[in-house]
Amino acid sequence: MPSKLSSAAELGDYVSISAGMAIACSGYTVMAELSGIVTGVPYLIAIAAAGALCMAISGSIAFLASSYPSAPGVRTYLRGALGDFPSLLATFTVLAIVPLFAGAESYTLALSLRSVIPISPYVLAPAAILFVVSINLFGLQLPRTIQFALGVALIAGTLLLGGMALLGPMEGGAPLPAAPVRSGAEQAARALTAVGSAVFLYTGFEWVTPLGRGPAAYRRLIPISMPLALGILMVMYVLFAAGLQRRLAPGELASNPIPHMLLGERVAGARGILLAAVLSALSTLTTFNAGLMGASRLLYALAREGKLPRFVSHISMRTGVPAVAVLLIGGAALLAALVEILLDLQVAAAIAAAALYCLVYASFVWAGLRHRARDPSGDAHFRNPVPRAVQWGLCLALPLLAVATAASDGALRPKVMTGVTVVLASCLLLARWSFRAGNQARPARAVLNQNEAR
């Protein structure tokens, strides 16, 4: 009786979700930022290397997912392997990244759409967040087939724009910029930094793990879907980045938070701008909506197990939506967006999110190693093909990458470092409070809106 989908269709569904979750409008801003660190072929290598790094990380995540099918990722995986406190710390960090990301994403979208919809980004960015929050509050959800189609359209559109930029004729074109001559140590430091920043382009690929259609999906399809999605993203980003470098002068690229709009204009004029604007809207819609939805469910789950005050688990009896959790995440995203816009912190927020994600990914790899060590016979159905030595290497390298990423832009360094420190310190305090509160209180029950029920 379960799933009537063929394996190929089911795999395609997972690949589309995994890839769609990673493609964000603010990714274009990060690509521009990256070009300020490395140029020429090293620019493309850094993007590809970050994809390969995420593929290695996906092995650990797939292993954990097959041990805990359908479980809500970070909270369950890390608690099972590392204990309650590290799990809470990582979960709150992931939750904190969502508003950071939402601020950068909504502003980038607003800037991108300005050429099509002449409304100030100061209005459009909060409006985008309010729109997504409203969708969530009313319990509206896109059917999975539509989500699949959106993911495919997004990838195809980005490949089209990148391909046109790379292969199409150009007037007075500039060759791919050559990497400036630098010392070996400086070259290595810049490459490391660039890889860490480029991890941002792939973040979110792991959000597919709770969405398996049945236990069998965790033996092969979900584990395969992540590296497949990452492979597609890698090709897409490298092609797009090569197109950016071919069509935009280094100065134009590095200083432009929406380089894809300029690329669209250079490649196909008004039609190109429209294509780039549609891609921006699609990428924000898929990533932002799923991110907000996933984060609110995670918040709700924490409240249900008594780790957060019980009012957070309030459910609307009419829609079945955890309304308070949605409002809290939405409110935090709106606040972050306003602060980022007013203080011009969008790029700093994106870099901080990339650095924090490197730390979260390190904890996933560490959890995978610990889980395997505790249960060497393994009740998991998927075996991580990444050698253990490489996994240990990732555990050490990812925190270093996080530091390198946070320090990547000299001008933004103080802001990014401050942001990362504030987020981590806040999450540490919250995790400590939540850990103690959860140990003292019985699991909270959800608060149901009795008025709605009557």
Binding site: I315, R445, L448, Q450
Partner: protein, 121 residues
């Protein structure tokens, strides 16, 4: 206790659950328009039962068979399923511990959790 008696206990728990859901006045609002088929599967004994939700109630508890509509799969050892569907165990805790598996989208997972809350909290 043999596997046969556990299976009959699971069936009994699910039938009691169905009766409680259908008799609970507040659940009508929550279940309005929520037409899903919940497939309850034991990961150790292999027992499986279907509970189709339609018209704000559970139509029947029966062995798995073809049903139109969205399917939600709930999977755990049989003893745990009995505890979850009889209100002895908080399903949210079991789910977060990775002991109870629920294969559905986020929204359906929360809805299923909300049903147990209305019934037992």
């Amino acid at each position: 206790m043999g596997p046969g008696s556990m299976t009959s206990r699971l069936l009994s728990c699910l039938e009691t659950f169905r009766d409680k859901v259908n008799q609970h006045p507040r659940l009508r609002s929550l279940l309005k328009g929520w037409d899903r088929v919940v497939l309850v599967e034991s990961s150790d004994s292999g027992a499986a039962y279907c509970m189709p939700f339609a018209a704000s109630e559970i139509a029947e508890v029966s062995p798995p068979r073809e049903h139109p509509g969205t399917i939600i799969r709930v999977r755990a050892p049989e003893q745990m399923l009995c505890k979850v569907f009889s209100g002895e165990l908080n399903p949210a805790t079991a789910f977060l511990n990775g002991e109870l598996q629920v294969f559905a989208d986020d929204r359906d997972q929360v809805k299923l959790d909300a049903i147990t809350l209305v019934l037992w909290d």
